[in-house]
């Protein structure tokens, strides 16, 4: 089984990531890939690693079911000059490797006064909406944000996921948790060309892990700043479109790819136009990334806020298996619309307030 074919690679997130892994392994023989069920012809549970073991049999290691163990092995490899990429089959299992991330990978460089690097990437699919039930649907990256020394990155369809992954593997000497929303794999990339994507003007900053900002009004004016990442990016864009068409509400959408560290600049720039903040995420709502975003904005850009910031997140429950309950638990496009409507208060028609 060879890599995904060219067209597939061009088109969707899965292809972008898979293509990047092929080229990274080809370019840099320090790169090794570890995880469960990676070998071809199976090629990994979500096929992000398809074709890799056929092409690079010595550097693609299928592992036993031992998330702490193989993450720990990868930490050791990284300390000795390799650039390991670990796949955790479902993000839900990341807690098994959490001590390796907290007390090993993210500590060594600083604690040893710079005597070692740990250029490790741990990739994992997160998220629900596939009916996989309470232990296979979560977005638990929030629990890994705020470990000093651990970078957390999440691409969206508006980023170039493969390029972000390459940066994390090849150019970043710090340990990186790379979060892939699993519903996003099959989604087509939304490439930014000539400063536009679809009907939106687009800006990309020059950070190592860039933030994309999208505007329906060419960055002239905005009613609300919608901040989102990962799989919520598209939902935010769709909500923004609906708000524009139905209610003439103009959203700017800010899509960071670095969840931690977080650069507030693009959010601040957008808030200077909108004064209103809505943060969208798929995770359970407490002590989440969205909490950090709202806290940072409140603490550092208080004067830009004209109204209470609003968070859109999952309900504070496990994620049910059955479709209607899962849908009711996870945030939907309509929740974003309702949140924006709430954020702008009297600007909207009362019907949305009920939503």
């Amino acid at each position: 089984m060879s890599r995904l074919d060219e067209s597939e690679r061009e088109l969707n997130v899965l292809g972008s990531l898979n293509g990047a892994l092929h080229s990274i392994l080809g370019d840099d023989d320090r790169v090794v890939v570890l995880g469960e069920d990676l070998l071809d012809p199976y090629g990994g549970a979500f096929k992000v690693t398809r074709g890799l073991s056929d092409a690079y049999p010595d550097r693609v290691l299928t592992t036993p079911i031992s998330e702490a163990g193989f993450t720990g092995v990868a930490v050791g490899m990284a300390m000795r000059g390799l650039r390991p990429v670990v796949e955790i089959m479902f993000g839900d299992f990341l807690m098994l490797a959490a001590d390796q991330l907290l007390n090993h990978a993210s500590k060594y460089t600083w604690m040893y006064e710079g005597k070692v690097d740990v250029p490790l990437v741990v990739r994992t699919p997160m998220g629900g909406r596939r009916g996989y039930g309470p232990t296979h649907s979560q977005s638990i990256e929030k629990h890994f944000i705020g470990m000093p020394g651990l970078v957390v990155v999440a691409p969206s369809v508006f980023h170039d996921p493969g390029a972000l992954l390459r940066t994390a593997v090849v150019d970043d000497d710090r340990p990186v948790l790379f979060v892939e929303n699993k519903l996003m794999y099959a989604r087509p990339l939304r490439r930014i060309q000539g400063g536009r994507v679809g009907d939106m003007a687009a800006r990309v900053d020059d950070a190592r892990y860039p933030t994309v900002t999208l505007s329906y009004d060419d960055f002239r004016d905005a009613d609300v700043t919608l901040v989102a990442y990962g799989g919520m990016a598209e939902l935010a864009a769709r909500a923004a479109e609906r708000l524009l068409l139905d209610d003439e509400v103009v959203c700017e959408i800010v899509l960071p790819s670095s969840l931690n560290p977080l650069d507030l600049t693009p959010v601040r720039q957008s808030l200077a136009r909108s004064g209103r903040l809505v943060v969208c995420e798929e995770a359970a709502p407490i002590a989440s990334w969205g909490s950090e975003m709202i806290a940072r904005v409140s603490a550092e850009a208080f004067d830009l806020l004209e109204a209470a910031p609003v968070k859109v997140a999952a309900r504070n429950l496990p994620i049910a298996n059955t479709r209607d309950l899962e849908r009711a638990i996870l945030p939907q496009e309509s929740d974003i619309v309702a949140a924006v409507t709430r954020a702008i208060g009297s600007h909207t028609t009362p019907v949305h307030l009920a939503g």
């Binding site: 036993p64 009916g131 309470p134 059955t322 309950l325």
Partner: protein, 323 residues
């Protein structure tokens, strides 16, 4: 629909069935097989959502082991739990409703295939973590003096998880009445056992001071006989045991993801526990038991279909238990 005296006791239920041991084991295996085949059809027809893990080829383990348990006992199963549940609970309609995500399913559609609970039966979807849970449950029964014991199922692949060894150590140190059953079906998802397991399975149990053994069989009667003493000894000695069953999975890992060598799978069909046992029975009995099981599966499906989907307004229910 349920008999209060047998509802929680697989042993009492098994004893109350008519027919020879082989016939009774067969009746349970054909129910499991037909239930899972129906599930796969429903998935294909787009009527089920998400994923599921069938135990086709491994049914002999469930019937061979769990029929020895009584109402005091506990089972903790994993992702591949349909067979275990059907022997423990004998309520295909509740499992079918759960699979369809209906209110009235085992856990109201919240859990789906791998997160179910029914009296002393439980399953969860993260490999390994259930093992200390089962040890704790066994310890609780011991401290309470109920005479109950626990059985926990894990696959060959799950022997990769460190927490399993922590649990073995604890069970051995504290003498927990727990039976660790390793269903070695030679594969973990797409990974053959030689790529996930070094050394020897039985030696792993022994290294923790736990009496350990193994059986290579898909013959339900053989397994049933083998485990009679083992279950009894856990209960009598109050000590853990570790038992490996070498078997084979004849279906894909989850719905439709089988990349194993075709020849290998085909070669293992001779060990298919359902025809294996059927061949020893009177064909008319087999036909009757098959038909009866088929009818129960159809009834289960119809029952499940008749139930409503859960109402999202119930989402905040059961944040604490109803006890």
């Amino acid at each position: 629909m349920t008999d209060p005296t047998t509802e929680r006791s697989p042993k009492a239920r098994f004893d109350s069935l008519s027919g020879s041991v082989d016939e009774r084991l067969y009746s349970q295996m054909t129910l499991i097989r037909q239930f899972e085949e129906r599930l796969l059809q429903l998935f294909e027809g787009g009527e089920l959502f998400g994923t599921t893990h069938c135990c086709i080829g491994q049914e002999a383990d469930a019937v061979g082991i769990l029929n020895h348990l009584d109402e005091r006992d506990i089972v903790f199963s994993n992702h591949r739990c349909h067979g275990h549940f059907l022997v423990y609970g004998d309520r295909p309609e509740l499992l079918m409703a759960e699979m369809m995500g209906k209110a009235g399913g085992l856990v109201g559609g919240r859990g789906g295939s791998q997160h179910i609970c029914y009296h002393g039966f439980h399953s969860n979807g993260v490999q390994g973590g259930i093992v200390p849970n089962a040890v704790g449950m066994a310890m609780a029964e011991k401290l309470k003096g109920t005479g109950g014991m626990a059985v926990v199922f894990l696959g060959d692949g799950t022997l990769g998880q460190g927490v399993v060894y922590e649990a073995l150590n604890l069970a051995s140190l504290w003498s927990a009445p727990v039976l660790f059953v390793i269903e070695d079906n030679q594969w973990a998802q797409s990974t053959p056992v030689e790529k996930e397991l070094a050394g020897d399975m039985v030696a792993r149990g022994r290294a923790f001071g736990i009496r350990s053994g193994e059986i290579t069989s898909t013959d339900a009667s053989e397994i049933y006989a083998h485990f009679a003493d083992i279950v009894a000894s856990v209960r009598e000695t109050g000590r853990p045991r570790f038992e490996v069953v070498h078997t084979y999975r004849l279906c894909h890992h989850s719905k439709s993801d089988d990349k194993r060598p075709r020849e290998q799978v085909e070669a293992r069909r001779v060990g298919d526990p359902v025809p294996l046992l059927a061949r020893r029975l009177d064909p008319s009995v087999v036909a009757r038991l098959d038909a009866e099981a088929g009818r129960r599966v159809t009834e289960a499906e119809e029952h499940a279909r008749s139930l409503p989907f859960p109402d999202p307004s119930t989402l905040e229910d059961s944040l604490v238990s109803a006890r």
